[in-house]
């Protein structure tokens, strides 16, 4: 009997033991993994003294920008592979560390601090919230914060933001160029009506001052139609847009908001050839809404798209051709891919100029900043309009062009041009001055 009782108790106890054991070993394993993690990151800190120039590219692969980031990052890394394959710059290789910050500030700040310790001289977070949160740190630590197509528009004013580098036409310039294109088409915008359909976030409202200022100057009337973020339902807004009978429509959003805007515009019979987007629309978006349905839609192009630019052709031959591509070959030459190539090319050009100015380094943030702010007439072999960055103008001249979707690709409608920079710079100066005096 006692045997039976013991027998009855024992399995229970053993199961409990097992349970405890799994729990304990589970906790132990987790702790061990965490510790290994620490050791790994320390290791990589030690390995940083080879002949490399460290760039940090923590970007949002998983939360909001997703496929935008994937294509952008693929382009940037392919370009770095191309440069490194040709021997790097002055014998130095570009080491771009790519990771995911999921648009989450603690993760982004962790990545920033970790990379800073590893000697990073440039960081490209490709996210407006993250860029805004990193501004004060970057200014303090003298690390070049690239905010291409993101971050503060007024960072174009290099006197106030010495280490914040948009290095691309900011949203105000894009608005200015789009309006000038409308003017070129209609000869005169007096009495016309232009509407802005935008996501109701700070990013979406950013271009409004430029549209308003130009409206006063050129005599068109201007109206805004905000939709709620994230923008996957805009069905209430577009009938109102139709009723407003606009001559031109600008739609301003990113990611899912863009494709939704296009399909709602089609549904409401807005003429596609009277609609324009900022930089944030690509071939992948057209796949979603139907390539033929949106024939004629316009966009702002900061650099050439497609595979014909020489740099992209070189990447296909020397990187993808050798199986060293960073992603699917089908994506090479898409708009966002080429943005990535463009930004990587500008960064590398900055490194090249920095070596020209101070061949012996030391390789630091200020050293690279000297190079980036002395880029002169750089076109990346025809990929982008001639770009000149100075200590005062971090935008690089504010040139771009307008392209039209023809059902298969974006076809340029204009040459590279710049317009309305007086209005844009007035706004930049005003906003930067405001930042300097009040921190807003």
């Amino acid at each position: 009997m006692s045997r039976g009782r013991r027998g009855a108790i024992k399995p229970v106890a053993t199961r409990e033991d097992d349970m405890r054991l799994t729990r304990r070993s589970f906790v132990a394993t987790t702790a061990a993994t965490a510790l290994t993690g620490l050791r790994f990151s320390m290791r990589s800190a030690v390995a940083a003294d080879a002949k490399v120039i460290k760039f940090g590219m923590p970007q949002d692969f998983t939360k909001i920008y997703t496929f935008v980031t994937a294509e952008y990052s693929q382009g940037a890394r392919d370009y770095f592979t191309l440069v490194n394959g040709r021997g790097g710059v002055n014998g130095y290789k570009i080491d771009a560390e790519v990771s995911d910050h999921a648009n989450d500030l603690p993760r982004a700040i962790e990545a920033y601090e970790r990379l800073k310790r590893e000697g990073m001289v440039l960081i490209d977070p490709l996210s407006t919230p993250v860029a805004r949160a990193l501004v004060s740190r970057a200014l303090e630590d003298k690390i070049n914060l690239v905010t291409a197509f993101s971050g503060r528009s007024d960072a174009a004013d290099g006197a106030v933001f010495p280490y914040v580098m948009p290095l691309s036409p900011n949203y105000w310039t894009q608005a200015g160029l789009i309006i000038d294109f409308f003017r070129q088409q209609d000869k005169d915008l007096k009495g016309k009506k232009i509407v802005l359909v935008h996501i109701d976030t700070p990013f979406g409202k950013e271009p409004i001052p430029i549209f308003q200022a130009l409206g006063q100057k050129l005599g068109y009337s201007f109206e805004t139609f905000p939709y709620t973020p994230p923008g996957n339902d805009q069905s209430a807004i577009w009938p109102q847009v139709r009723r407003a009978k606009p001559d031109w429509v600008v739609f301003w959003g990113a990611g899912v908001g863009q494709t939704t805007a296009l399909s709602e515009a089609v549904r409401n019979g807005i003429p596609m050839d009277r609609m324009s987007s900022s930089v944030w629309i690509s071939e992948s978006d057209m796949d979603v809404v139907g390539k033929d349905a949106v024939k004629g839609v316009l966009k702002f192009e900061p650099c050439a798209s497609g595979r014909s630019p020489k740099v992209v052709a070189d990447i296909i031959k020397e990187v993808a051709g050798k199986g060293q591509g960073a992603g699917p070959e089908a994506k090479i030459g898409t708009s966002y891919y080429n943005y990535g190539v463009m930004m990587a090319a500008i960064m590398v050009e900055g490194v090249r100029v920095a070596f020209q100015k101070n061949p012996n380094g030391p390789i630091t943030g200020p050293w690279l900043n000297d190079g980036l702010t002395a880029i002169t007439d750089f076109t990346a072999e025809g990929l982008l309009p001639a770009m000149t960055v100075t200590k005062d103008d971090h935008q690089g001249g504010g040139k771009g062009r307008i392209a039209r979707w023809d059902g298969t690709k974006f076809v340029p409608q204009t040459d590279w041009f710049s317009a309305n920079q007086d209005v844009v710079w007035a706004e930049i100066k005003k906003s930067a001055e405001n930042f300097k005096t009040t921190g807003k």
Binding site: F40, L105, P106, R132, V135, R152, P202, G439
Partner: protein
């Protein structure tokens, strides 16, 4: 062996009422406190500013939410908005020249007032319906912030935090911001440890278990539900202020979106509802599991020479993170704090398993 439970019997009420009656627990708490105090001098700067500092701040916020959720049983999905109110109020007050100490309290009060107004919903609705009402708060506050240029800071929607002094000490650099956050966290943690032993805390517990029953035994549920919202929102407001002053250094609307509210909710649930220790564990897991996995996978792939695509490399940490949360909740639905408690209970009389506990 560690706790020597068998040999200790309290002889005075004072002894019995201590926060940590067992010497070993007191030793552990003292050890952790000492480690946190000497950490800035021994730990690498990276771990101080990118791990310890956010951990302390997020833990404090989780504690504040835990008072409402674990203490009073009222669900809140808009705690990020509560923190936003405190952050914006205090930063704007500091910009207008208010001393930081006052601005911090004023931030807390503003959060408490607005938080309690939305708390009125809790008088009428419960559980999922209350969750919806508090989500509404999140969206309304977000909307107001982005649409009033005076609050958000205008076109760029970002307001830099001016240099602030707390009791005459300039809060800047890594050390002072850390100690500021540590001090606030300690105050909140002590409050939370003690609140359960007060009449207020017991009333909240009664409301949490069943509000009709609480009413019958003479607890004014109207008052205590609102007080729960009031005090929890006050803590949220103060922590929002600490978050922007010590860690983010600028305020913009995206910092306080629904993501933050959900993150805090996850910390409270994964850590353990109503547990002080759990809030710290939960904050640690939710904040750092993705980062640690990210670094591990990145470093591992580089060192072992495995080619992982960027997409997979970005998503794999999130998959592991999700799996980890599920596994933890399956092992112990009551949260990480309960896992700790199980271990502690086991060792309480170890090596004797059948002694009285």
């Amino acid at each position: 062996m560690f706790y020597r439970r068998a040999g200790i019997r309290h002889t005075t009420y004072r002894q019995e009422r201590q926060l940590w009656p067992l010497p070993f627990d007191r030793f552990l708490v003292g050890l952790v406190a000492a480690l946190l105090i000497i950490a800035p001098f021994v730990v690498d700067r990276l771990y101080l500013v990118a791990y310890l500092l956010p951990w302390l701040i997020w833990s404090s916020a989780a504690l504040g939410l835990n008072l409402l959720m674990g203490g009073a049983g009222q669900i809140h999905l808009g705690y990020g908005a509560v923190m936003a109110i405190g952050a914006y109020t205090s930063v704007h007050l500091v910009r207008f020249g208010t001393p930081f100490e006052l601005a911090m309290v004023a931030g807390g009060l503003a959060s408490a007032v607005i938080g309690s107004i939305f708390g009125f919903a809790a008088l009428r609705v419960k559980s999922l319906y209350l969750a919806m009402a508090t989500i509404a708060m999140q969206y309304i506050v977000d909307f107001v912030i982005t649409h009033v240029p005076g609050i958000s800071g205008g076109g760029m929607a970002s307001v830099e935090v001016p240099p602030v002094r707390f009791l005459g000490i300039l809060i800047e650099g890594d050390l002072r911001t850390y100690f500021m956050a540590l001090a606030v966290c300690a105050v909140v943690a002590l409050f939370m440890l003690n609140v359960g032993r007060t009449a207020f805390g017991r009333a909240l517990a009664a409301v949490r278990e069943k509000d009709y029953a609480a009413e019958i035994i003479g607890i004014d549920t109207f008052k205590y539900k609102l007080l729960a919202f009031w005090s929890s929102s006050f803590i949220g407001g103060v922590i929002g202020c600490v978050l922007v002053v010590c860690y983010l250094r600028s305020v913009s609307p995206e910092q306080f979106h629904l993501d933050l509210s959900i993150q805090l909710l996850a910390m409270v649930i994964v850590g353990g509802l109503g547990s002080v220790l759990g809030s710290f564990f939960g904050a640690g897991l939710i904040l750092f599991a993705p980062i640690v996995f990210n670094n591990l996978i990145g470093a591992g792939a580089d060192r072992l020479g495995i080619a992982i695509g960027a997409d997979l490399r970005a998503h794999l940490p999130l998959m592991l993170y999700g799996a980890l949360i599920v596994v933890f909740l399956i092992i112990e639905p009551l949260g990480l704090a309960k896992i700790y408690d199980n271990v502690r209970n086991y060792f309480l009389v170890w090596p004797f398993r059948h002694a009285r506990r």
